[in-house]
Structure formats: C-alpha cells, structure tokens
Symmetry: D2
Subunit: 342 residues, 4 copies
C-alpha cells in the first residue's frame, strides 16, 4: 500500500499516522519526491481500512498494491479448488459441469420432466427458481415454498443435485435439502446474507452483480470464506452496459480473468446474460472455449408458456445441440492443452 502525502504535512499528524500503521505490524518505507512525499507500507495490508487513511488531512491519496482479498486469492492457493455438490457432482478442478433447468419451477410434472430431459442430454445438476426476484411487484414471484418441494421431488426422481436461489435469510430453514444455494446478482452485496452463508457447510453459487467489478465479486466471496465456508462457486451472468439488443452484456473475459485471480471455480450463465434464446448456443460455446468450469442454462419444455424469463429459455432439444457443441469445443481445446503439456 502506498500513501501519498500532501505537501508540507503536519509533522505531528504524520507521526500519529506512522505510529498507528506500525501498530498493525506494517513496516514503513518513506521517500520524498519533488512534488510528493510517499509512505510505502510493507506487510499484510489486506485488513487495513483504506478509507480511514484516505480521510486524513495530510493524505492526498492511497493506492493498493496487494489485492484486498486473501482466502480467494490464487497467489496463496495456486491450485484449482474442486467443490463437491450433493453426492455425485463437482465443480472445478478440471471437469466441466452443466447445470440446466427452467427459470421458474411451475409445477411438479413440469420440473420432473425437464429434469429427466436435461439429465438425458448430459446435465449433471438441476436448476429451478422458487423465489423469483422481479422488478415489478405485479409480476409472478415464484411458487416459493411449494416450488422448493417440487424441485426436491425432481431431485429424488432423477438423482440430480439441485440449485435454487435464496432471496432472504428468513428462507434459509427451507434450504436444508438444497445442494447448492444460489446468491443472485442483486444480492451479491447483501453482506448480512453473505456472512450468514459463511457459517453454513454447504456450497454457495455467487453470481456477479450487474454493475460490479471482479474485485468486488471476489470481496463478496471473501465475506463467505472469512466465515469458514470455503465452498464458493463464482458465476458470470452478464453486466449492465449501454447495449440494448441483449439484456445484459456477458463478460466472457471475466472467465479467464477470474481463473487468474482466484482458485475458485467459475461458471457462466448465457441465458440470463443475453436474454435471448438464439444467443445461448454461441455464448455457451464461447464460455467453454474461454475456460469456464461449467455452464448454467435455462431449459424449458414449453418456452412459449414459461411464467418468467421466457425469451431466454431453450427447449430440451436445443439443449442437446448446445451440449454437443460444448463437448466438441472441450475436446478440441482441452486435448490441445494436453498435447501442449506433454
């Protein structure tokens, strides 16, 4: 961390600052330039509150050199983390995991039949929303508790582990049998929720917020990990940009960037990111080519009658075609990697 002092700092305040920094076990290297005097802080600065220092009268600016996240940082955990989900699925560590299912659970028959279809096509987990975040209070809000029951019925029927979104901590007791708890984009910085999920022994799927940076995503992962739960899976699901043709802009470069910054697994969600079913296949292929650890895709047996987010859902038949394409990409690229390695 570099502290840039203002011209002619009050020496008493400066000494106070140095004493306080020293009390946090930081060594201080001072250097003076023509226009600026600088303090270089050496040691573990990840827990230093940068805003506190920036607030001081004698300080012009503070710049971080170390990343502010630690548990999630690849520098301190060089190997990929592999996270087991349920009894027979895993994400990260070299495999490729596809999660599929409808935007919303609409009925037991619907979710069971989609579960069978996506399992047959090669999905290894089932998704389905029970609590739905909707911009309008007048839009369908999900089947809620009943939706969870239907989802668990599909789990029993197919053996697929299930993932679904939690929208408020008061719902947590209902998530006992859910294998992977999803934190939606709008809750990525719901810090009280993150802290509580950090106390669980259950994997968490953390989606990137619509206007959040990769560092902020990693800091939210850090909230969960700091509580003791290290089983965090990250998900790129599109960010808000000026483009209106797609609902959001899928940041494919977030995939290799996150893989460089952290050891945690990284999924991609081409359905929410684009909001258009015609773009799901090309973006799923792009995510696989860019090195994602898996995908989460909306599949609906009747997108025409889906109760929400219909425009971005694909049919089970289209999902099969996506799986074929993705596998072809994986064969082409991962084989290439093995050849380069050998």
């Amino acid at each position: 961390m570099i502290v840039i002092l203002k011209d002619h700092p009050n020496e008493k305040q400066l000494n106070n600052l140095k004493a306080w920094l020293g009390s946090m076990d930081l060594a201080i290297h001072e250097s003076a330039g023509v226009n600026h005097r600088i303090l270089g802080l050496v040691g573990d600065t990840s827990k230093v509150d940068i805003d506190l220092i920036r607030a001081l009268d004698i300080v012009e600016d503070v710049k971080r050199i170390q990343e502010p996240f630690k548990n999630a940082n690849r520098k301190f955990h060089p190997l990929d983390t592999r996270i087991e989900v349920g009894e027979n699925a895993a994400i990260g560590g070299g495999g490729f995991c596809v999660i599929a299912g409808p935007c919303s659970v609409e009925g037991e028959e619907q979710i069971v039949s989609i579960a069978k279809a996506v399992k047959a096509a090669g999905a290894s987990m089932l998704r389905g929303g029970a609590f739905k975040p909707r911009t309008s209070p007048y839009a369908f809000q999900g089947l809620r508790e009943q939706g969870l029951r239907f989802l668990l019925a599909a789990k029993r029927e197919t053996g697929l582990p299930v993932v679904t979104e939690i929208m408020d901590l008061s719902q947590l007791p209902l998530f006992e049998e859910i294998d992977l708890i999803q934190v939606g984009a709008r809750n990525m910085q719901n810090f009280e929720m993150l802290k509580e999920l950090g106390r669980l022994q259950k994997p968490i799927l953390l989606k990137r917020g619509l206007a959040n940076t990769l560092e902020e995503l990693l800091m939210s992962a850090e909230y969960i990990m700091a509580g003791g739960n290290e089983r965090v899976i990250l998900c790129e699901r599109g960010i808000r940009t000026f483009e209106t043709y797609t609902r959001n802009t899928m940041d494919i470069s977030a995939i290799p960037s996150l893989k460089a910054l952290t050891h945690l697994p990284v999924l991609a969600d081409p359905s929410h990111a684009t909001g258009r079913s015609a773009l799901v296949r090309p973006m799923a292929l792009a995510a696989a080519a860019a090195g994602a650890d898996g995908l989460i895709i909306e599949v609906h047996n009747d997108p025409q009658r889906a109760l929400c987010d219909g425009p971005q859902s694909i049919t089970p038949k289209e999902f099969e075609a996506v799986m074929l394409g993705v596998n072809a990409i994986l064969n082409a690229t991962r084989k290439g990697e093995q050849e380069q390695a050998s």
Copy 2:
C-alpha cells in the same frame, strides 16, 4: 402497450394471445404495415407481464407506452405528497428538510454532540449508521445494536427524529423507535425486504441503486406502496459511471425528473454521491437549485478519526456554511417561483 408480431405469425397462436389479452380486460387494436403487424393494447397494462408476451414465438418485440408504476405515478396523484416523520419533521409538499449526522455512530458522546451541533445549524433530522454495508469483510461493520441505542439517546437528548439503515429483515424488531428506516442503495432491489417494509406504518427512505434507472427506483417504491405503506421518500445518492475523480456521479437531473414522474418527495445525498468533502457544498447547492425536497449530509466532529467514509464528511462548522448557502439558494429560487405564480 404495443405488441409487434413477427412476419406471418401462426394464426392459432395469435388467436390464443388475443384471447389471453382479452381475459385481462384489454382491448386490442390491430394494424398491419408493410413489414410488420402490430397489436395495440388499450386498458390498464401496468400489471401485464411484458416478458411473458415477449417470449412468444410469434412476437418480435413489445413496447410499453404506459409507465409500469401506478401508486407512485404523478399522473394519478398530481399533488406533491408530504410525509410526516416523527413528531416534528416532514419531507415533501413544499418544505425543505435537511438530515445530517455522522456516517457511523461511534459512541454515545459522539452522536449526541453531533446531533446538537447539526440541530443548532438548522438540521431537522439526525442520521447515523449502526449497521454498515462495507465491501470488505475486514472493514468496520458498525456498532450495530449498540449503535441504535446511542442514536436513540441522541434523539431523546435533542428531540430530532432519527434515520438509520436496515441491512436485513432480521434487524427489523430493533427499529421500533427509529423514525425513518433507510433502505440503502445495495438493497434497492432486495424485493423481500421491500415487501415486508410495505406492511409497516413507518416512513421509508429508499436510496437509488448504483446502476439503477429512475423507473427501477419507482418500481421499488411501488413494491412498498403496493403493500399498503405509501410513505416512501426517494433519494438520489450517486450512480456508478466511468468517472473516478468522484466516488459516484451525482445525477442532479434525477431530481426534477423524479419530481415530474412521481408525487413522492425526493432527497439528495451529496456526501455519498461525491465521496469528497470539498464537493459537498457545491452539490448541496445544486440539488437545492434543481428542486430537491431536502438533503442528507454527513457531518462529523472529527472527520480525521471517522471510522468509515471519512473523506466525504464535513465538520459542523462547514455544515453551517452549507446551510447558509442552501438557504440563500432557496430564498432566491422559491421567492422567484412565488413571484412568477402571483
């Protein structure tokens, strides 16, 4: 609402669509162009789920004509709403209300002394954070329950109504004596929280999210109002842009825009919006000139030692100068309005 059909729509699906629209008491005006066939929907479309229609195979696009918010809409409530807060304060309806206080409550003595200072300078409400949303789990998270107690002590001491942020619904029982509950920018789309606050009989201060549009802000107000609680106060506190000199970009034009779209009161928060104490005065003056119903300003008796958000706090003495400037602006502009009116 305008539904634009694809070329050569399947007539059976089209008839299904028309029947469904008719069942919602919407009249349908059809017109055919060279390249497009169009359905114009006439009636109350605010509760129609636009995504459902957009998902249909035969539909190319759907465009709203009516705003999707109703309770918050000025068209249906032309007069400004005035919201009483506590026993002796009110926001909206022509007055100008200044809320001031520290970012965080740090101790009883601190909050009481700031409360006295801002009251003396003309503030009519006291702010102070007890639960603090921080990007890093390693940063100071607020005094929490104890912070609320200190804040209530300052309320008793000065008679100022108090406002503070709720971060999770589980904290709600602690907010009994709080006069105005703040929903922070990161919780603007925490829909479960909004629904629950809609069941209270207490005014809510709803801050605009960092990357949210005015329509989304109004839809979140609609969530609260749809539950029966019509006492919602909106607050512009800066949006995320590419600019890095300021922490966020204060959207001053949101003030007159919101005043045109809704009857609800609109506050402005120059402290969080800019993140720089030197910008609080000019932006407070700009907000007053643009027609805000009030301000919320961070004031700290020792910004050098503030535990969070220090760089944006001003001293009680600087706050006095802001109040003088704001009053001069109000005299100049509101007097002008009266003269024009007479």
Copy 3:
C-alpha cells in the same frame, strides 16, 4: 413507427402532422386508448427524423419498430457478404481471416520480420499502425508517413494485404496502396470521415466505439454504404465498462448479435479489447466459437520494447499457439454445423 400523442392534442397541429407524414408516403393507422392516442406509421420509416416528431408539442413519445439502417440490414440482404481485400484475401462469407501484426510500425526490419512470422503461422493479412491515437500528447504518436512506407515494404516482401488506421481525412492520399482502411473506435462517429470513405472503392474496417451500441455501429456502416461503398467490415474491440482488470470489456455477444442483424462480416480484436497478452488466446478462441468471421491480433517480436500498447501484444510463437487453438475450434464447430446441415 409509433407516435404516442399527449392527452387532448391540438387538432390543428395534429392535422399538420398527419399531412406531413402523408407527404413522406407513410400510411397512418390511428387508435385511441384510455390514456393515450396513438398513430401507427406504415411504410419506409428509415428516413424519418424521429427527433423532429418527438419535438412536437402534441407528441409524448415516438418508438421505432423498424431498424433505422437499411443497406446494412440482413432483412433486406439475407446472405452473408464476402469482401475481397487486396489480391488474395477475403473476409466474410464462410471463411475465417486472421489479421496480425504489431500495434505500431517501428521500423522496416521490424515490420518485415513480423510480417513473415505471422504469414508463416497462418495470418492472411498484416496490420501495423502508422498514425496512432494516444490519449496523451506526450506519448509516441506513430511513425506516420514513414510508417506507411515501411508497411508497404512488408506488403511487397510477403504478399500480405495490409490494414492500417486513418486518423484524419487529410491523410487519405497516403492510403492509395493500403488494402483495407481502418476507422478506429474513436472515429466511429466521425461522420465527415465516414461520408468521404463512402465515396471510395476500397474496403473499410469499422471498429465499434468504446461506448456505442450495435445499432450505432450499424448506422455508421450505413453512412459509408449510403455513399456507395458497400465493402464495410465490422469489428468488436471491447467496450468501456466499470471493470478495471481488463482495459475494456470484449462484448463477445456482439458477434452473434451482429451476424443476426447484418450481412456484413464481423471481426474481433482480443488484443485491444483486453489489454493483456495473457487473455488474447482465450478470447480469440471464444470469438471463433461464437461465430466471428476472423480476428485481428497484435503480434510483436519484442513486446518488451514495443513503443505502444505493449502489454497486450503476444510473440510470434504465442501467435502460432493461438492459431492452432483457433483452428481446433473452427474444426470442431464448423464441422458440427456441416453435419447438422446435411
């Protein structure tokens, strides 16, 4: 085009509007709702000035239904356009074209040697900047006229067609022997330049602006095409977002989106989009997987000494590895397409 009228429009003004619209050969379908009266315009609205109508006192809003671009629109030209460049290269129409070379031409020896290396690795065109847009007036601005001479020497030596950026129309006479003229992101809306390039008989590489939508990119292509030059190649090179880890955010979904909206070829530039050499390979693979017609990649024989944009350049050896990966992707995906088609 849909014109939404205000309540109780002045009938005389309304008749004027209708007469004016009729004079442009547009048929008018009128419909009246509870809160709104609407005019539906039928005919070729691509040349109607939407702002003119929106300005009228009696008009609340105007919404487009047809896209405002015509020459570039796939609806009117369903087949992919293939554009010949120089004597032996082509972009679009099913092939895959890789353009490679240094950010800046730094000397004759440098550009010739890189040209040979990228040709050997499979590039079919050479890039190299002579006029360089730099944010700071104090940064290296390119070898300019001399740089063009060196670039043409490399063309003669290798037979590779060459592409380079024009920064001002006064430079046009120097571009006689350049095979493909690049319009940089910052000039995407330099309309006087676009008009002049529309009078040439030479292909144009049009890069998307940093904060521009796909529709705006297509309108800029339309400027060139409206002048008679239909040989426009589009290029996604990253947009500005809040992310700071990458220099820009590469919008991979722009590739299949543009392919749906237009018949023009679409290239992708992973070097400028990411600003990091380590991301060039994964993003090149992603672009190929998403259906791009080709790539433009920065290659430098000594990235350590590159005079500009060094951090995003890769070495000829790394470029070979990218080509291998891209070809594996193309084999995997395009083979799949042929199988599906047959």
Copy 4:
C-alpha cells in the same frame, strides 16, 4: 510514479529499466516488501509513457501519482484563466457568460431574430450549428457553408460573438470569422484535429465526450495547449449512463471537480445533457449554483419546427425566465462568497 515489480525480477532487465528511467532525469527510490518490490520515480513523470513500462516482463503494475496533464493543471497555474472571445465577451475569471441560440442555423431570418431575442434577454454570445453530427446519414446534416454565412450575418447585426462546431479539419478555412470554435463531444479525442487547433490563435470550446473521464478531457485540452494555444474552454454536456429518461446524464459534479483540477473555464450545456426542454431551467440553475463559469443553452423561436434536437430547445420567453433564475442564483451565491471573503 510507482513501479511494482513482479516477484524475483530478472536483474539484468531491472538494471536496463533503471538505466532508462535515469536517462529521463528521474530519481529512483527502491523499497522491498514481503510480497512486492517497488520503484518510486521522482521527477517530472508527466512525459513518461506508462504503457511502455507496464509492458515489461518484470513489471506487475504501474501507478501514477502526479496528474499526466501539465499546462491545464491548476497546481502549476493557481489563478483562474479568463479567456476573451471576440471583441466584447469573456469566459472565466469570475464572470458568468451565457451563450444561447438554436441547435441548427436554418435560415438568415431565423438566426438573426433568435440572436436579437437572446441578446435582449442577457446572452453574451450566439451559438448555432452549421455542420451537424447526426447518428443517421438520412437525418438533416446542417446548412453547412451557407449556415456559417447566416451565422456571421447575425453576428454583424447584433454584435454578439459567435460559436459553432467544426466537424473536420478541411472546414477550418471557413471558420476565419468565427469567434469561438467548438469541438463536439464525438471529436473530443480526434487527436489530429486537437493538434491542428493547437496551432491557431483562437479560443476553443472543448466538449466532454459521452463516455470520457475528466482526466481524459483535460488530456485533450493538453493536446491543444501543448501546441501553443492556451485558450481552451471546457464544457460539461452530459455523459452516457443507463438512465433513459434523460438523453444523457449531466454530471454537475464535473463543474466543481474541474474547477479544482484546472485553471481553465468550465461551461455547462443543460440542453444537450438532458434532451428535454422542461429540464433546462432546473439544470441551468444547478450548474450556476455549483460554480460554472457560464452556460450554453439552445433557444429556438419555433421549437415545433426545429430541424434537429427540437425536444431540448426552449423559447426566447422561457430563456428569459432561465436568465432571471440564474441571476437570482448568482446573486445569492456569489454575494455569499464576497461576504465570506470580506
């Protein structure tokens, strides 16, 4: 400037770097931390190419401490710059200058009559577009050369200095008698144009780009000033954000921020920033309250028939009301400043 080295840098490369930095008269302060080794560069770093250093294999990151602009920097020129325009107007240095006129010059009678009206209401300069940047090639592109002639006729008639936009350097000979040359938002980073304008002896009105930072705006001013022309006037005219109610988002905080960073005058353009005539008055007042050196406002005697940008123009009568409001603000705030000063 701080250079952060990677772990275990190659010592030979490090020595090369140090020698090169030394050759630019920079002193080097080295310090070593637990995870990082750092070089602090002392001296004039404004001309160091930061990308060159960042490209080196041994470098992890580079952070600037000094601002990269020099001529525009208030640190080196503490006093406000006052720029004379034409024979009887000036911008900056304590006065308040209002420029008004139509978006486009449409005819001699139109521009002369508007010129008289805005002069009567207190404007001290006349604006009017002759060359118009339009997104669509099918929209009205301005009267061009003829428009300039009409504008100059209005100048002769009223004595008002005139400002109009240049869109390409080839138009420069036509701007001989224009008093203030405007560089539009889309040309803010047209570096060849900026260089050429830097060779003139004429004031330049430089508008901020739609997605550009304040530092980038100041670097573009630096381009002009580095050529010897120090008469640059900056203008905030709205940035692109996610908001759609307004055409752009007017960044009022840019005004006091720029006033802190530079000695150059700062204007505000509420017409283009909002795109709505109803917002011109509140935003003009806000800009005056925030400390702008003046305003540029679109006024049209018949906004209903304006050939472009009609929705944001106000009538001469509305302009009078804006001037009254602005003067009331100036009296209130600047009087306050004098009292504080005395």
